[in-house]
Every structure is written in structure tokens, then in C-alpha cells.
């Protein structure tokens, strides 16, 4: 297995977050009754014509800017001709020779390794409808609600070398398109669909023959499908059989890929420029307008987090996984003070993320305002709270108890006791009650001190500062 190199390129269909369809005024919302969101243009009645939705173009420009690509001043819509019942016109309007976005790329991270994945292109096109094969007693039902939904098809170079890289790329792309607000990122509803072109080769050899796995709508399926496909291809080659170019489908139930159609019966799509649409012209001014409205991009934000807050590359990358997470973190830092940024990062990525995960909540729906978390963090930083008590306060804040961290600390009497005068009598009592530990410590057994500290903490219900207790204990035991 080790002498084979895996080569993967992904084609991703990103459903654009526009109110209406790419060439008609019908709504794009998901889940309507079948054929209720399909107008005369979408069902291709005779005589009706497509009119380009500018909002879809803005999405394409945003994406091009976000990946540092070239945005074509003039691109052309073409017809891709084939017959299928859920393709009402008998052709799909897409872009062929001149896509709206060319080149660019994005950084991915697998473990500690960072890698730049280049993009070939991204082009605008319309989605088809859906064929429904169940519930029609041997016939097929057609739902054209999805017909004409705007898509941006993003094609990567074959730069990916493992399923892990493919998943990292897909996740980075998913994060980016939701970050810049051009896609809702909903995988279950098909807003983000991936086709994987997979081949294997001997290192240094030319590319092998690829097979294309169609329509993967989860990161887990993407990984499973590629792993299965790679193992299958290697096995074929090692058994002396050739790989034939084909389109394959992944069956999540069996975990296998199977060929749908071979290259021999591939369609001749007879592409030609759509005479119903003028070439798409994008002026530098239009690009500037879109650029001005673009949010800070994740890559730039990661770099800033490292520079401004002294975070590690890993932390910066985790905190910028989504725009909401990054915004939450920054608002927490703003309220807690920049000097506490690392502590903020730990709490956002740690306790908060774990809690969200456990309750299956998105950070956008977090019940805890950043200012409240910041209040807690300030009390940890100034020594008021031990980390153990901090978790208790976090719990209370999460559940909406008390106005803020200080109120909870006050109400529950959780304030760390740092007053030596208050602690000394307790220390004396513990020394008196634990002669064995005292003896062991004096005999040079450092660990015995921990037991004594533990007893003091127990006696103070955790309110003492363990570091201070240790110091006081040493002093007293040395003096006696």
C-alpha cells in the first residue's frame, strides 16, 4: 500500500444564499410543497426567458475575492444539453469556456501540517429539479422547486493527497463560504455537495486514471468514500487490472462505491453560448463595491489573532472555524481585557465549546453572552476564583442564574480566601490533626505536603488559594 500515492481533486456545488433563483423570480427556500416554488421560467414553458439574478453574481465575486482568484471582466453562460425529466429546458445553463472565477486557493490544516490547495475555477450555474422515485407506484415524481437554484461550482486542482486532506479542504471551503455569507452550509438539505475525483499512482509517475465519486453530502461520507475507492483502485492495480474512467456513487449503507456510468456512455453535452443571455460583464467598480462590504477573512483573522493576542496557530485556527465563534471570542476578549486573551481562548475552545457540543447547540445560539464569560474570566485572572470554582460559576451563568459572575460569587460565597489570618487557624488545625503527614514531609517526602494542602482546601470548601496554602504550610512546618 505504501508505494501508492493518492491524488484527489474536489468539485463542490455550493448553493448560493439568494432570495430568488438564478434566472427567475421564484423563491429558493427549502422544503416547500413540491412544484410550489417553480415559476414559468423554472418549468420551461414555451416563450419564457432567463434573466440573471445579480445577487448570485455578487456571491461569485465575494468568493473570488476570498480565495484570491481572478474575477473575469467578461464571462459567458453556456447551455449544457441533455435530456432528463428533472431538467425542464433539456439543458442546464452553466458556464463552460469562460468561468466567472479562475485560480486562487485556500489553506488547509491536517494536524500540524499546513497546505495550500489551488483552485482551477468557480462558475455559476443553475440546479436541476429532483426526481422522486418513491411513493409513485412504479412511476417517477418530479419536483421542480430546486430547478434554477443558483449554484457556484468550485473546482480544486488535484492537490489533495489523502482523504484527511480532502476532508480538511472540504471543511475549510465550507467554513469559508458560510463565513462570507454566500451559502447556508446546510449539508443535509444539499446546500454543499461534493464530487471527488480520485486516482492513485506510483510516486513521480503521471496521474492515474480517475473515477469520480458523485454527490457526497457529509464530511464522513467523503472520507469513507475516498478510503474505500482508494483501497479498491490499489487492489485493482495490484491484481493487474486497469482502472477505467467512470462516475461512481457511494452507498453509505454498504460503505462501497459502485460505477454509475463509464466514459463510453458519457454524454456529449453540446455546449454552446446561451443566446438568451448576454455575456456577464463585471466592472472593477463592482468588484470594489463587493470588496468593501466583505467581512475580514478567516486567514487574515488567524494571522491577526496570533499577532495581537499571542495565540498559537492552532488556537487561532480553531477560533476562526466559524465567523460566529471568532466574533464570540473577540467580544469576550474586548470585555475581559487583551491581557487575558489566552485565558479567553482556553475557555471558548474548552468549557464553552464542550458545553455547546454536549447540548448540540450552534455558537450562534449560545445562551451565555460574551460579556458574562468575560466577567468570569476576570475573576479567574485576579485570583478571586480557583479553576474548580470557576467551573461552578460557569455552570450557574450558563443556566442563567445571577446577574453576572460577581453576583454568583457573592451569593454563593465562592470567593477565594486569600487572607492569611483567616486561613492560619485552619492550617494549624490540619497540622495538629495529621501528624503522620507532617512527619513524612519532615522526613523529606514532598508529596506529603499535597495531602496537607488537600485537607486545608477541603476544610475551606475550596475557597482557599492552594498555592498560598502550600506556602503557609511550608513556613509553619519549617518554623516548628
Amino acid at each position: 500500500m505504501s508505494q501508492w500515492e493518492v491524488v484527489i481533486g474536489l468539485e463542490t456545488h455550493v448553493q448560493l444564499l439568494t432570495k430568488s433563483k438564478i434566472f427567475s423570480g421564484a423563491a429558493t427556500a427549502f422544503g416547500a410543497e413540491p412544484n410550489r416554488q417553480a415559476c414559468a421560467v423554472d418549468i420551461a414553458l414555451p416563450g419564457v426567458l432567463p434573466v440573471l439574478n445579480r445577487a448570485a453574481v455578487v456571491c461569485a465575486i465575494k468568493f473570488g475575492l476570498a480565495v484570491g482568484a481572478k474575477i473575469a471582466p467578461r464571462s459567458v453562460f453556456a447551455r449544457k444539453n441533455y435530456f432528463y425529466p428533472d431538467l425542464p429546458k433539456g439543458y442546464q445553463i452553466s458556464q463552460y469556456e469562460t468561468p466567472v472565477v479562475a485560480g486562487g486557493g485556500l489553506s488547509i490544516r491536517v494536524g500540524e501540517q499546513e497546505k495550500f490547495v489551488r483552485l482551477v475555477r468557480a462558475h455559476l450555474e443553475e440546479d436541476a429539479g429532483k426526481s422522486l422515485h418513491e411513493d409513485f407506484h412504479g412511476k417517477t415524481g418530479i419536483d421542480l422547486n430546486r430547478a434554477g437554484t443558483p449554484l457556484l461550482e468550485i473546482v480544486s486542482e488535484p492537490d489533495l493527497r489523502s482523504s484527511a486532506e480532502a476532508v480538511a479542504y472540504a471543511k475549510a471551503l465550507h467554513s469559508l463560504v458560510t463565513w462570507i455569507g454566500i451559502c447556508d452550509g446546510n449539508l443535509q438539505e444539499g446546500s454543499f455537495r461534493v464530487d471527488a475525483n480520485v486516482s492513485v499512482r506510483r510516486p513521480g509517475a503521471p496521474f492515474g486514471t480517475r473515477r469520480e465519486i458523485k454527490n457526497l453530502n457529509s464530511f464522513r461520507f467523503l472520507q469513507q468514500a475516498i478510503d474505500y475507492e482508494v483501497a479498491w483502485q490499489i487492489n485493482e492495480l495490484e491484481e493487474g487490472r486497469a482502472i477505467h474512467q467512470a462516475t461512481v456513487l457511494f452507498d453509505p449503507a454498504s460503505g462501497e462505491t459502485r460505477a454509475m456510468r463509464s466514459k463510453e456512455d458519457a454524454h456529449d453535452y453540446r455546449y454552446f453560448p446561451d443566446p438568451d443571455l448576454l455575456p456577464l460583464e463585471i466592472t472593477p467598480q463592482w468588484i470594489e463595491e463587493v470588496k468593501a462590504a466583505l467581512p475580514e477573512l478567516p486567514q487574515a483573522m488567524r494571522e491577526r489573532f496570533q499577532a495581537d493576542y499571542g495565540l498559537s496557530a492552532y488556537d487561532a485556527s480553531t477560533l476562526t472555524a466559524t465567523r460566529e465563534m471568532a466574533r464570540y471570542f473577540e467580544e469576550t476578549v474586548a470585555a475581559a481585557g487583551k491581557e487575558n486573551a489566552k485565558l479567553c481562548a482556553n475557555w471558548v475552545m474548552g468549557e464553552l465549546a464542550a458545553r455547546l457540543n454536549r447540548e448540540e447547540l450552534d455558537i450562534a445560539a449560545v445562551p451565555l453572552a460574551p460579556a458574562l464569560l468575560a466577567g468570569l474570566i476576570r475573576r479567574i485572572a485576579d485570583g478571586t476564583l480557583s479553576s474548580k470554582l470557576a467551573k461552578e460559576v460557569f455552570e450557574a451563568l450558563w443556566n442563567g442564574e445571577g446577574q453576572d459572575a460577581d453576583a454568583i460569587i457573592e451569593a454563593r460565597g465562592l470567593k477565594q480566601v486569600s487572607d492569611a489570618a483567616a486561613i492560619e487557624p485552619i492550617i494549624d488545625a490540619v497540622i495538629a490533626a495529621q501528624p503522620k503527614s507532617v512527619e513524612e514531609f519532615r522526613a523529606g517526602k514532598e508529596k506529603a505536603l499535597n495531602a496537607l494542602v488537600g485537607q486545608v482546601m477541603k476544610a475551606t470548601q475550596g475557597k482557599a488559594n492552594p498555592q498560598q496554602v502550600g506556602e503557609l504550610l511550608r513556613k509553619k512546618l519549617a518554623a516548628n
Binding site: A40, I43, A44, L45, P46, G47, V48, L49, P50, V51, L52, R79, N81, F83, P85, P88, K89, G90, Y91, T140, I142, D268, R270, Y271, F272, P275, D276, L277, L278
Partner: protein, 485 residues
């Protein structure tokens, strides 16, 4: 004789309450009832809808409203979608299709107060030059019932020629307004591409299709175009321009007009009778103060082959939507999806439509695209450049609209290439997106002959002026076929 009156006269009579819109509609509807069985110019006539629209117009007229076309009857080529009234496009495929919307042109002319009497016969999907390809049977030429009226807007042409209606709409992809206008002795205008919205006009070849008016005279056409033209956001190829009054130049004298005569339009292949009539018309223009000069369109010989690559290519794709899935004809029995497609399209389309779908599919196929489609697009640019060059030397171009007068049924239908060549003078105009006008200029063997006037982009007002001044000096456009007088 009110049925032979100009649109201007009809409007005046309506305004002066000498006749009502209902009376006028009834008069023409009665003529349709009487003569249409002979001519087959209409596919659908809706008397009730027509009279309701006429009553509405009468109410407006009664309220003192005046508008140049208010209350005047018209017919639409059955390629324009009409809400609630079937639109067949001359095909079995759409024999029962009822659109839930009006074409832009239909909307505009209704808003202008015109009363639609019905829908005119046409070659199937506008593919044909003789009206012989209609699923609803051929249309007869009122000047000689053994001859074709031309096509594809042959129903519109025959209906006006026999005065079953004073005006009609047509569409012109390679000559489909001008050629039937010439063969039936009418005036027909194909405007500059983009002047009239294609919304709701069933597509044949999107980059060439253009709707336009057909009527007895240039003045009538100018009035109709005023209502038909205008920007429509629903058609991306519709041009956003300030509205124009196409009648504004009608009376301009022709002194100093420079008429270019493309030598390629006067070579071999033109019938003597046509040549004589066209030469006489040019002599008349010189008498009216115009000057004629010879010009050249060196690539015009390539226009028919380029057209018969591009138009079928676009058609093969435009007609893919007729698959039996959502509307239109569907085969009664089929084994599976492919069988359903094959039987539906085999039964739903006629021979000429199939021929063009096959040609179009072939020229767009992998390995042939560059040699055919791409090359034809390059030729198209050369043809447009030829015209641009010619218009540096003259204001308009003139020549015959067709190489011969109306031919007999069956004469060319067995030979597609012979049929395609009947559009030899009109096709280049569509390829270049230019406006083209055909006016009656005499007779050859008792059959009308058309003079074609071609102008630069957006020269419609000037071209209509050139036609109108000629029509003030001649009466070819007032002649009627005896049987229908």
C-alpha cells in the same frame, strides 16, 4: 369599404363614432368565418373574447379616450403566447397548450387598445418558407389559391392580404415576416434585433428571432411598431432605449436619399418578372429624388450556409423542452423514459422540425463544433462587417425580397435546399441583427413582388419614411386579390 381602410382611417372612424369597435370586430370576424375555410389562415378564432375586448374598447372610446390603435382588430401569429387562449406554434406538440401569460407584444398591443380576433397559422415552430409545415395544414395565398403564401408568418400574411384582419403580428428569424409579406403583397417589418421583446414569443433561434408588424402599408406598420417596441426586463436581449415615435419621419422628402444596391442581390437566380418590378421601383425612387449607387456585400453568399448551421443549432436546444414531461403532447404508450421521449418527439414534431433538430444536434456535437458552429459565428461577423461597410456609402439598401413570386404547393417542399434558397436575400439581415422591410412593388405573372429595404441598426423610422413616400406615389399596397375584395 371599411375592411380595406388604413389603421389611421379606422381610428378616425372609431373616434368619430362612425363605427363601433364591436361593429368593426364583427365585420372582420364575419369575413374570417366566410373566407378562412378557403385560406386556413387562422388556427384559433375566439369571437367571444374578441367581442368582449371590442366592448371594452367601445367603453373607452365612449369615455372620450383616444389612442392611435384603440378599438382596431388584429391577429397574432400563433407563436405569441396568449393567456387563456391556446398557442400552438403550428405544431402537434403544442396543439392543446394554453399559456398562463401573455407575450410582451400581446400585452403591449392589448394595452394599446387593439382587439385580438384570433391566432394565425404558421410553419411549425416557424421553420419553413411556405406554410406547408404547419400541423394545422397549409395556408393558401389569396392571390392564387394554388400557391403558397410564404412562411413562416404565412397565416398572418394571407389573413391581411384577404382583409380578414387589418393588421397582424409576425416573427422573422430568416425572412419569416418579409418573405410572406412579399408573396402576399403586404408591408412587413423585421425590426433591429432587441427592439421588440421576445418574452412569450416561442423560440426558434434565439439570436435571430424578432417580432414585427405586418399590414397593408408602412404607415400602418409604424403605428403598430410604436406599440410593439420597447424595453422589457424579462428579455435579457431587449434593448434599453428611449421610446421612439416611428411615424415621426414618415413625411420626410426623399431628396438626397442614397440607396445602395448590393450587386450580389441582382445577380443570377432572380426571376425576370421580379427583376422588372424591382427595377421599376428603383426608377420611381429616383423620380422621388433618391440616388442609387452600387455597393457590395462580398460575404452575402455565405449567409444561407451560416444560417442553416446557427439557426438549427439554437433550435435543437430550444426545442429540447418539448419532452412530454410537463406539458404538450405525450405519447399514449411507452415502455420507459427513453421510449417516452422518442415516441413523444417522433409523434409531436413534423419532418422539417426534425430535420433542423438533427442538423443542429450534429453541428454542436463534439468534434464538429469548431468546424460548423464556431465557423458560422465567424462568418456572421464578416456579414455584419459587410453591411457596416456598405452603410458608409448609403442610407439604405434595396433589392428584391425574394428571388421569385409565390410558388406552387409542393414545388419546393421535396427539396429542402431549394426551399432554403427562397430566403437568400433576407437571411443576411437577421445574421447582422439589422432592420429589414418588405413593401409591394408590382406584380410578376399576376403575383405580388416585394421590394426589400434594409437599414442600419435602429433606422426603422427612416426606412418606414422611405417606404411611405413610395406608397404615397404608388398604389401597389392598396391592390386586393379579386376573390377577397
Amino acid at each position: 369599404m371599411i375592411h380595406t381602410a388604413s389603421l389611421k382611417t379606422l381610428a378616425a372612424q372609431l373616434a368619430q363614432k362612425k363605427i363601433s369597435s364591436v361593429e368593426l370586430a364583427t365585420l372582420f370576424l364575419d369575413r374570417i368565418e366566410r373566407y378562412n375555410p378557403t385560406l386556413n389562415a387562422f388556427i384559433t378564432v375566439d369571437r367571444d373574447k374578441a367581442l368582449a375586448a371590442a366592448r371594452q374598447a367601445d367603453a373607452q372610446l365612449g369615455a372620450g379616450e383616444t389612442a392611435p390603435l384603440l378599438g382596431i382588430p388584429l391577429a397574432h401569429k400563433d407563436i405569441f403566447c396568449t393567456r387563456g387562449l391556446r398557442t400552438t406554434c403550428g405544431s402537434k406538440m403544442l396543439a392543446n397548450f394554453v399559456a398562463p401569460y401573455d407575450a410582451h407584444v400581446v400585452e403591449r398591443l392589448r394595452e394599446a387598445g387593439m382587439v385580438m380576433l384570433g391566432k394565425c397559422n404558421m410553419d411549425e415552430f416557424a421553420m419553413g418558407s411556405s406554410n406547408e409545415t404547419s400541423y394545422f395544414g397549409p395556408v393558401k395565398n389569396p392571390w392564387d389559391l394554388t400557391r403558397v403564401p410564404g412562411g413562416s408568418s404565412g397565416g398572418s400574411a394571407a389573413a391581411i392580404a384577404a382583409r380578414l384582419v387589418p393588421a397582424a403580428t409576425g416573427t422573422d428569424t430568416g425572412g419569416s415576416i418579409r418573405q410572406p409579406a412579399a408573396l402576399c403583397g403586404l408591408t412587413g417589418l423585421k425590426p433591429t434585433y432587441g427592439v421588440v421583446s421576445r418574452y412569450g414569443m416561442i423560440a426558434f433561434a434565439s439570436s435571430l428571432d424578432q417580432g414585427g408588424p405586418m399590414a397593408a402599408s408602412a404607415e400602418d406598420c409604424a403605428l403598430l411598431l410604436n406599440a410593439m417596441a420597447g424595453f422589457d426586463a424579462r428579455d435579457s436581449t431587449s434593448l434599453e432605449r428611449a421610446p421612439e415615435d416611428y411615424t415621426r419621419e414618415l413625411e420626410r422628402p426623399l431628396d438626397g436619399l442614397k440607396i445602395g444596391l448590393p450587386k450580389e442581390f441582382f445577380g443570377a437566380g432572380m426571376d425576370d418578372g421580379v427583376r422588372a418590378a424591382v427595377e421599376e421601383a428603383l426608377a420611381e425612387y429616383r423620380r422621388l429624388g433618391a440616388e442609387t449607387i452600387e455597393v457590395s456585400l462580398p460575404n452575402s453568399g455565405l449567409s444561407v450556409p451560416a444560417y442553416y448551421v446557427l439557426a438549427p443549432a439554437e433550435a435543437s436546444s430550444n426545442l429540447a423542452r418539448y419532452d412530454g414531461v410537463r406539458y404538450g403532447h405525450r405519447a399514449a404508450e411507452y415502455r420507459d423514459l427513453i421510449d417516452m421521449y422518442e415516441k413523444t418527439r417522433a409523434e409531436g414534431f413534423g419532418a422539417e422540425v426534425k430535420r433542423r433538430i438533427l442538423i443542429g444536434t450534429y453541428v454542436l456535437s463534439h468534434g464538429y463544433y469548431d468546424a460548423y458552429y464556431l465557423k458560422a459565428q465567424q462568418v456572421r461577423r464578416l456579414i455584419a462587417a459587410d453591411f457596416a461597410e456598405a452603410f458608409k456609402q448609403c442610407d439604405v439598401l434595396m433589392g428584391p425580397t425574394t428571388p421569385s413570386a409565390a410558388f406552387r404547393f409542393g414545388e419546393k417542399s421535396a427539396d429542402p435546399v431549394a426551399m432554403y434558397l427562397s430566403d437568400i436575400y433576407t437571411i443576411a439581415v437577421n445574421l447582422a441583427g439589422l432592420p429589414g422591410l418588405s413593401i409591394p412593388c408590382g406584380f410578376a405573372g399576376g403575383l405580388p413582388v416585394g421590394l426589400q429595404i434594409i437599414g442600419p441598426w435602429f433606422a426603422e423610422a427612416r426606412m418606414l419614411n422611405v417606404a411611405h413616400r413610395y406608397q404615397q406615389a404608388t398604389d401597389w399596397h392598396r391592390r386586393l386579390p379579386e376573390e377577397f375584395a
